[in-house]
Structure formats: C-alpha cells, structure tokens
Symmetry: C2
Subunit: 231 residues, 2 copies
Amino acid sequence: MPTTPSTTARSKRAGSQLTPDAIIEASLRIAARGSQDAFTVRRLGEELGADPTAIYRHFRDKDELLLSVADRTLGEVLDSIPEGLDWKDRIRALAAGSLEVALKYPVVGSAMASRTTRRPHEFRVVELILGAVMEAGLTGRDAAVHYRMVGDSLLAFVGQQAAYLLFTPDVRAADESSWSREYRLVDPEQFPNITRLSAELPEVTDEQIFHIRVEALISAIETRARTLRET
Amino acid sequence: MPTTPSTTARSKRAGSQLTPDAIIEASLRIAARGSQDAFTVRRLGEELGADPTAIYRHFRDKDELLLSVADRTLGEVLDSIPEGLDWKDRIRALAAGSLEVALKYPVVGSAMASRTTRRPHEFRVVELILGAVMEAGLTGRDAAVHYRMVGDSLLAFVGQQAAYLLFTPDVRAADESSWSREYRLVDPEQFPNITRLSAELPEVTDEQIFHIRVEALISAIETRARTLRET
DNA sequence: ACACTGTTGTCAACGGTGTTGCGCTGCGAC
DNA sequence: GTCGCAGCGCAACACCGTTGACAACAGTGT
C-alpha cells in the first residue's frame, strides 16, 4: 500500500520494478496515442511489460491512478507559464497551456472535465487564478465566485475539446459534416437564421471559439472590477 | 433495422410491443433515477419487460439511442421557453431550461456535453441562439462565432454539472469536503491567496457560478455589438 | 544461520458492460 | 391456406475493472 519503500533509505533496491512514477509515465505514453489505443488496465500492463493487475499494488484503483496522472499534466501546464505576466495574460497562458496538454492526452483531459484532483499541483492552479482575479481588483466573495467561473469554465471547455478527440473517426466525421451539409439543407421558412448564416457557420474554427470564450471570462472579471470601483 | 413499419400504413398493428418511442421513454425513466440505477442495456430491457437485445431492432447501437433520447429532452427544454422574451432573457431561459433537464436526466446531460445530435430539435436550438445574437446586433461571422460560444459553453457547463451528479457518493463527498477542509490547511506562505479566501471559497454555490457564467456570455455578446456600433 | 514478516508480481477468476448470430413465432399479405 | 419476414428471446462473445490466493523475495529479529 505505501507508495515509497516506507521507512529506510533503501529506495534504490533493484527488486521493485514498478514504481508509481513509472506507471504514471506509461499511462501518459498510452494517453498520448489518443483514441488509437484505449487506456485500459490490460493495455497499461502490456506497456509496462508486467501483469496488468500489478498496478493495484501502487494505486487503489484506476481512478486514483487517473487523478495522479492528471496532476502530473497539471504540472506540465504550470511550468509552461512564464513569469512576469499581468493577470490577463496569466489567464490566457493558463488557458492555452491547459488546452495544449488536454489535446496531447485526450483521455486525461476528458476524464477530468468535472473532477477535482485534490493533489499538489491543483493548489498551485487555484492560487494562480485567485491571484489573477484579485490583481484585477476583486476581493472576498466576488473573487471566490469569479475564480470558480474561470476554473470551471476552463476545465469544461478543455474537457469538451479533449472528449471530441476520443470519438471514433466516423462519429467525428458525421459531426463535422453536419455543419457544411445538413445545415445548408434546412427549411428557410422554419429556420431563417440558420439559412442566412449557412455559409459562415462551417467556417468557424475551434481556435476562434477558444479565444472568444477565454476573452469572455476576462472581460467578465474586468466589468465586475470596474463596477466595484465606480460605486 | 427500420424504425417504422417500413412501407404501408399498417403501423397500428398490435403485434409490435416495442416502439422507438416506448424505448426512449423507458430510457428517460431510468435516466431520471440518476446514479442510483445505471443506464445499461440490460436494465433497459428489464424496464421494458423485454429481452435487452430487443432494443437493437429499433436502434443501431446504444449511442444512436442516446442521441434520440437527448433530442427528446431538447424538446422539453424548448417547450419550456415562453414567447415574447428579448434576446437576453431567451438565452437565460435556454440556459436555465437546459440545466434543469440535464439535472433531471444526468446520464443524458453528461453524455451530450461534447456531442451533436443532428436531430430535429437541435436545429430549433441553433435557430434560437442565432436569433438572439442577431437581435443583439451581430451579423455574419461575428454572429456565427458568438453562437458557437454560447452553444458550446452551455453544453459544456450543463454536462459538467450533470456528470458531477453521476459520481458515486464517496467521490462527491471527497470533492465537496476538499473546499471546507483541505483548502483551509494549506501553507499560508506558499498559497497566500487561498489562505486569504479560505472562508469564502466553500460558500460559493452552483447557482451563483451558473448565473455568472451565463451573464458572462451575454455581456460578451453585448460588448461585441457595442464595439461594432461605435465604429 | 534461521525463521518470520511484509511487499511485489503473477495467475485465474468474477461480475459487469455493449453487441452479435441463430432460431422461433406470429402477424400481414397474397 | 400458405408464405415471408419483422420482431423477439436466447446463448454467447469480447472486453472492461477488480479481487483473492499463491509464489518469490528482501530485510529484520533472534
């Protein structure tokens, strides 16, 4: 059950082949292969050259492993954020970084969309967002609510994008074609707005949506701060 | 394979016990029981008093059934939106209605967070949102992008809330307690902002977050429309 | 030097999932 | 009256996460 060789400094003993770190890294390797290769316990055992069930000596269940893997990727995100940015750019960097790793490890990103890891790196992210909204001028309950808005929104969006990558190619193709095909064929009487915009709708890219959603968060914080300042 | 008795008008024959509609309604009954009762094919067969695999005579696979069920709930949402609202209140009503049915049928809401049903009612939702952003003063590409912002954001948020309801009680308890317990115990040196707000953070309710996220979307549309008007 | 203890990996198996192929049945059409 | 065939039940498959019993082995106390 203990994750480290417990007491003494004999941690370098050759006997223990598998370590939590090795398992996490193997998980990331599988996750990086996207939907081509499902992230299953048996597949993980294969990747480690060990019996699949050996994993249960180091993690209580697959969920705990997933949380640990997610926390590792959170670290990647945090390390990619440069120092010395103002609050807006810090949020932008956090958003961009989160999206990047979520697309790199889709299984992880999608599984974490409505979870909390309660692990070291998560506290750093919370601290970062709180620092940003407070630097923007919010305090107390306002800061708390706006932090949750930013945190939940980023998680949801990033999870949404990641989950999309996990769909089988045919599902994804059907999804994409609907914009350019089916939406062009709707009844103009019943759906005048769709008809009017049928040319523009398929042109919208994920990057545009991502950008505008992040800016919406930032401007919500800004607006609230200005309102407080004026009263 | 055909979903209707194919050719002639003999659709009212008594022989066929199962119909797509009956299956969808049974699915909704199970989904409404939340996480207490998993939404599985076998459970669905039990609910229908039929063999589980009989469902495959009416739906290609579980995913297609899920899309149909989701479209049905979309209808519920649309019917709950009153006439004669201005664009802001229409978006608010759509958001509130979506959240309501997603929490009523968590499995459905969570599964649809990053999907597109490509079914009748979905076109009506798209039309509704497009109408709102155009009434706000956006056109062309601006309208298209902002529609996607609203649509994707609502879906993501509602899916996130629904997914949370599906977690086993112990996972949910661990999640909730983290705010009131663990976040109070962090190192004040390393996490000054968390420490400063440790009293306010657990006080934030889902309703507050929901409200502020929806308003952020509305004000983003408003701001963009004002910018266009001024130039 | 020895037995003991606790950790780590292997193996077989369990209960659960979605899904498919085969055979029966009974209705509607001719 | 007979036939065709859609609709359903049944058994089974492949896959999933997880558990319990067992073997190998390291470190420790006597």
